[in-house]
């Protein structure tokens, strides 16, 4: 039994709007990642993926507010901490974050070496600059970045190179958990592959010990992560291993997502590309029952009234739907025929 690196129990965070309305963007999310494992989070735009990422790293600046739940990183509970304390003691060393737009993450007027110095000096003001430089050079070389990158300005780097530089900088202090929020969606396939290779290298060399990967590209998640969780309207609707989730999704929404996969392979022939009609519910006043009910093909009246808990099945999997697993599987089989 390996060690649990990150455990989240019933995390709820909310946005408070101008009109004092509460919008629960992350609603009772629980997850756990063991050492050396990676977890993928999938879902469409606006389902709360990025808010979950911000909440996990304790980044509670208005309008985002912490409501309840625990976030435990390697035995240390960081939930409810002051965001400034989190910045000083947690970010970078315990948990690190890679944003989607690497271009906006780097100040265009400074050299890359300066960013590395900033990160290290912020945590250890007495660190020696020469040592930092040597360490940065060694780390960059190990991760396959050319040595001259350190002396360049961000604008001189290509998109893929910038993203890889951001990854190298954010993991320089060996964080325990890395949260990658759509790190490759703005890149073309070749750069994307390099980014993924780098993340895998980091994992293998032990610079990070667990990873959360957020994206809406399912083929990518399938190849990168061990487990996948599907998020819908602030809730986790299904979780399982990558293989189970792609080839045997149970929740109607996950199944819908899996049907939007497009890959250039023979297997796609005859594969039906089906869009899920409609839009997600407004989280200002979420539906009382199942949040997916309005868009679900298999909806029955009681879906709209009973709130649905996460139901465990097949050892490690879980789903949130009013129908039984067996019923859903029969319905899907019937549909495929």
């Amino acid at each position: 039994m390996s060690k649990t690196m990150l455990e989240v129990r019933g995390l709820t965070t909310k946005y408070i709007t101008r009109f004092r309305e509460d919008v629960y963007a992350v609603d009772h999310v629980s997850l756990s990642i063991e050492e050396g494992k990676s977890l993928g989070i999938a879902g469409e735009s606006g389902c709360g993926k990025s808010t979950l990422a911000l909440s996990l790293m304790g980044y509670y600046f208005a309008p985002l507010h912490y409501q309840s739940g625990d976030i435990i990183i390697d035995g240390k509970n960081i939930s409810g901490m002051d965001p400034d304390d989190v910045r000083k003691s947690i970010l970078g060393t315990e948990i690190a974050y890679i944003p989607q737009a690497a271009m906006n993450a780097l100040n265009p007027t400074r050299r890359i070496r300066k960013f590395v110095e900033d990160v290290i000096l912020a945590h250890d003001p007495k660190a020696d600059r020469k040592q930092i430089s040597e360490m940065a050079e060694a780390r960059f070389a190990e991760l396959g970045l050319p040595p001259d990158v350190l002396d360049k300005h961000p604008v001189e780097l290509s998109g893929g190179m910038k993203q890889r530089t951001v990854i190298a900088i954010s993991t320089i202090l060996k964080p325990k958990v890395l949260i990658a929020d759509e790190p490759s969606s703005a890149l073309d396939v070749t750069s994307q592959k390099m980014v993924i290779k780098m993340l895998r290298d980091l994992m293998e060399k032990g610079y990070i010990r667990a990873m959360i990967f957020i994206t809406h590209e399912l083929p990518l998640l399938y190849n990168v992560t061990d487990d996948i969780m599907v998020m819908y309207a602030g809730q986790i609707v299904e979780r399982g291993t990558a293989k189970e989730m792609v080839f045997d999704p149970v929740h109607p929404y996950s199944r819908g997502l899996m049907h939007s996969i497009i890959v250039p392979e023979k297997g796609t022939r005859g594969h039906k590309l089906a869009a899920i009609p409609g839009t997600p519910p407004n989280l200002k006043n979420p539906p009382q029952g199942c949040r997916f009910a309005d868009r679900c093909k298999y909806v029955v009246p009681q879906c709209r009234y009973n709130s649905i808990p996460m139901i465990e099945f097949d050892d490690s999997r879980g789903y949130r739907c009013g129908h039984s697993v067996q019923h859903l599987r029969e319905v899907y089989q019937h549909d495929d025929e």
């Binding site: 809406h216 399938y222 939007s260 005859g270 009609p277 409609g278």
Partner: protein, 290 residues
């Protein structure tokens, strides 16, 4: 949008079939030795380098390449937004003439585009019905009675699964990215151009709304017989949707043919590399070859 009184049947497509008679159809847009040179002297770069292409009527062609391969430069030349350094483009069998503003406007009635970023494709000061009304006026519907115009706009909105009644008093920025991109397709539906040039229309939208957009493009092809030029870096997408595929590397077409030929048995090394770089589901994805 929980209940749609006029649903597009989004279920109907398996992998779309390649039209059999496509090679025999008349040419809609073709080019010979099309070249674009940027800069002068030593700094000269050939963004597009002597490319030949033939797009048939009602065909869905995709142009695939990485960032910087010249896809967007080529698309701008096709649209007449950039001048051509060398070579010739023919539109419906005749050499294209866009020397004057009037001739250009005439040409744009035949070719329209959807761009990558839906947020910057609309005039932020005009409401949605103005956007749609402009399209009707532009293609000769200026003198139609108001009721007829509203009917046309409702039909266009239905086609893209939006509700006209909810949109009339809204501004484009009040919609989500996917909805805006669909509104863009509603414009195309009203204008009914011969050619639609879609420059990465789905790269800023999530995978789920992407399916909807692709279905709509296919409907446009099948119902109106529009030629669609689909520019993308996602080779999986091009395999799914297109009749023919052109692969572009450093301003040149390295390979072209039907989607099955190009994707399932690629000949050029570049195509092979592109395909191997895409994350796979049924085959292992080799990370060691970076």
């Amino acid at each position: 949008m929980t209940t749609n009184e006029c649903d597009v049947n989004t279920d109907s497509y398996l992998r779309p079939k390649r039209l059999e008679d496509i090679d025999k159809r008349p040419l809609c847009l073709s080019g010979k030795g099309v070249t674009k040179v940027f800069g002068t002297g030593a700094k000269q770069t050939k963004a597009v380098d002597h490319v030949d292409f033939e797009f048939h009527e009602g065909e869905l062609v995709s142009i695939v390449g990485e960032s910087g391969s010249g896809k967007t430069t080529l698309s701008k030349m096709l649209l007449g937004l950039l001048s051509i350094s060398e070579g010739e483009i023919s539109f419906q069998g005749k050499p294209r003439d866009i020397s004057t503003r009037r001739k250009k406007q005439e040409y744009w009635k035949g070719i329209q585009a959807i761009f990558q970023d839906p947020f910057s494709s609309f005039n932020v000061f005009s409401k949605i019905d103005t956007v749609l009304l402009d399209c009707i006026n532009m293609c000769g519907g200026r003198h139609l009675p108001k009721a007829k115009k509203v009917e046309m706009m409702t039909e266009a909105c239905c086609f893209v699964n939006l509700k006209y009644a909810e949109l009339t008093n809204k501004y484009p920025f009040e919609l989500s990215g996917g909805q805006m991109q669909r509104l863009m397709i509603a414009r195309i539906f009203l204008l009914k151009p011969k050619i639609l040039l879609a420059d990465e229309p789905t790269s800023m939208i999530d995978a789920c709304s992407r399916a909807t957009i692709l279905d709509m493009l296919l409907h446009l092809r099948d119902e109106i017989g529009m030629t669609i030029i689909f520019i993308t870096h996602d080779i999986g997408l091009s395999y799914y949707i297109s009749d023919s595929v052109y692969i572009m590397e450093h301003g040149k077409f390295v390979e072209h043919g039907s989607a099955d030929e190009v994707i399932l048995s690629p000949k050029a090394a570049y195509t092979k590399r592109l395909i191997s770089d895409v994350p796979k589901i049924y085959e292992p994805w080799d990370l060691s070859t970076v």
